[in-house]
């Protein structure tokens, strides 16, 4: 985690900060969702508690905390209580492996009669060499928490919902995995940081021995992988159990799916996990296809140079640079999250056989075709 005491503690604080950021984004997103749903359906949504109803979710959290502790007779205690806690882990592990901004440097200084630094920090929980593979592995652990909840509740509706959910998640993981293979192919790396670096500047690529540069477009992955981006978005809807793929919670058939027997704060932890998955999915989408934390026409080095001209070389300019890119990344994430919310209130739910058919017979072949096409064009354009 670091070389000396300061670095270790700062890294630990950074990890806790990213986790708490995810937790804190959930009430905001729930508010956005309810309010957005209200406006989409031509009503107001929550608007009584606080300005624009913003503190509604704070009131809800207090209510969750005051609820009665309840465990059904036939529940398996360890699984029943373990599932909501375990639901938090995959999303937070995956989120911390995503880069939120460029490096910033703390120059050497002396304090308490000792020399510290210089340090270099990344706005990222930890940098994993195999980046995307780690995120895929961590995020797919979510199936376990769902199955634990389904089996531990001792209720057949929970069990059916859990099995539906896990079967759906693993089915769409194939299409997701194949689109990511195509992404890895065009960037030639697993590391998310390098992917973001490669998307800097205007759109330019080598096409049959000629360098093509298009000045008015940024060098984003979506221009290389348009089909892949769409498939990734659709698959991540299914991965995070959102409408139109929220069959596990089909209330007309299964009451409430795997969290039928849950209430109060245990239910709330499931919510945090689910919204955490949405945040991870949209952050990945941004990193792969929309330039990550980089601004469209201003690379992070150019912005750093501007800041250094204004504030001088040192901690202020590099910290400002990092924070600006952090804000840009959050802005992009919120746009994708708004798409998630808008789709939820626009499209109707699928039937289960349609869902499986879409996953296996439509999205898997399309992802495969996308990969083959990408590889063919890539090899042909680099060879001749």
């Amino acid at each position: 985690m670091g070389a000396d005491f300061l670095e270790v503690s700062l890294n630990a604080l950074k990890l806790i900060f990213f986790f708490l950021m995810m937790v804190q984004m959930v009430p905001l997103l729930v508010w956005l969702e309810r309010r957005g749903a209200g406006f989409i359906q031509d009503r107001l949504g929550p608007n009584r508690v606080g300005p624009f109803g913003l503190t509604q979710l704070l009131a809800d959290a207090v209510k969750f905390l005051m609820k009665e502790e309840f465990i059904p007779q036939k529940a398996v205690k360890f699984l029943f209580y373990g599932a909501p806690i375990f639901a938090l882990i995959p999303a937070s592990l995956a989120l911390c492996a995503i880069p939120f901004g460029p490096k910033f440097e703390i120059p050497a200084f002396s304090f308490w009669g000792r020399h510290w630094g210089p340090y270099e920090f990344i706005l990222q929980g930890y940098e994993v060499g195999v980046g995307i593979v780690f995120i895929l592995a961590a995020a797919s652990l979510a199936v376990y928490s769902i199955l634990m909840a389904g089996w531990g509740s001792g209720n057949k509706y929970s069990l059916l919902g859990a099995i539906r959910a896990s079967s759906q998640i693993i089915s769409y993981e194939l299409a997701l995995g194949l689109t990511i293979v195509a992404v890895v192919l065009i960037y030639g790396t697993f590391s998310l940081n390098e992917m973001v670096t490669l998307q800097r500047g205007p759109l330019s690529f080598e096409f049959f021995g000629k360098m093509v540069t298009i000045d008015f477009l940024p060098n984003w992955g979506i221009f290389y992988q348009p089909i892949g981006a769409f498939l990734f978005l659709a698959a991540s809807f299914a991965e995070s159990n959102r409408l139109p793929f929220d069959l596990p919670e089909g209330e007309a058939e299964l009451v409430a799916g795997f969290h039928t027997e849950y209430g109060g704060f245990k239910m709330n932890l499931f919510f945090i996990g689910e919204y955490g998955h949405m945040i991870v999915a949209s952050a990945l989408l941004i990193t792969f296809y929309f330039g990550g934390y980089e601004l469209p026409f201003l690379t992070s080095q150019e912005l750093l140079a501007i800041y250094q001209e204004a504030f001088g070389v040192g901690l202020t300019s590099s910290l400002l640079n990092a924070l600006t890119h952090f804000a840009v990344f959050m802005f992009k994430i919120f746009i994708v999250l708004w798409i998630f919310i808008h789709v939820r209130w626009t499209l109707p739910r699928f039937r289960y056989d349609q869902l499986m058919e879409l996953g296996w017979k439509t999205m898997l072949p399309w992802a495969l075709g996308n990969l083959l096409l990408t590889a063919l064009i890539y090899v042909a354009s680099k060879t001749y």
Partner: protein, 121 residues
Amino acid sequence: MPLPSVFFLAGFVTLFGFLLLFVASKIGEVVRDRVKSETYECGLPVEEKVDTKISIKFYLTAILFIIFDIEIIFLYPWAVSLKEFLAQGLGWYSLIGVGIFLLIFIFGLWWEIKSKALDWE
């Protein structure tokens, strides 16, 4: 390796969830009675057992997922090393090699669709 960080985060998250559940369980008022803690069943007495019958299709889906997922995982090293193959002028060689591998993949998918393993009623 960021392994200590990963373990630290996992431990912190577990502790966070555990503490929240613990606090929530202490604050709320608890009223117990016999009917309340029964399994939820739309107001009727529970008839069916918990381990209710589940369609064999789910097991089949899980097995097919494992096969395909392993095939996809084999593609990752190829995708990341294609650049080096190209640098050595072996682009088409590498592509044909993986094409043969993908033919098995596509044949498997075609066979499953043809044998109706992926059809749900």
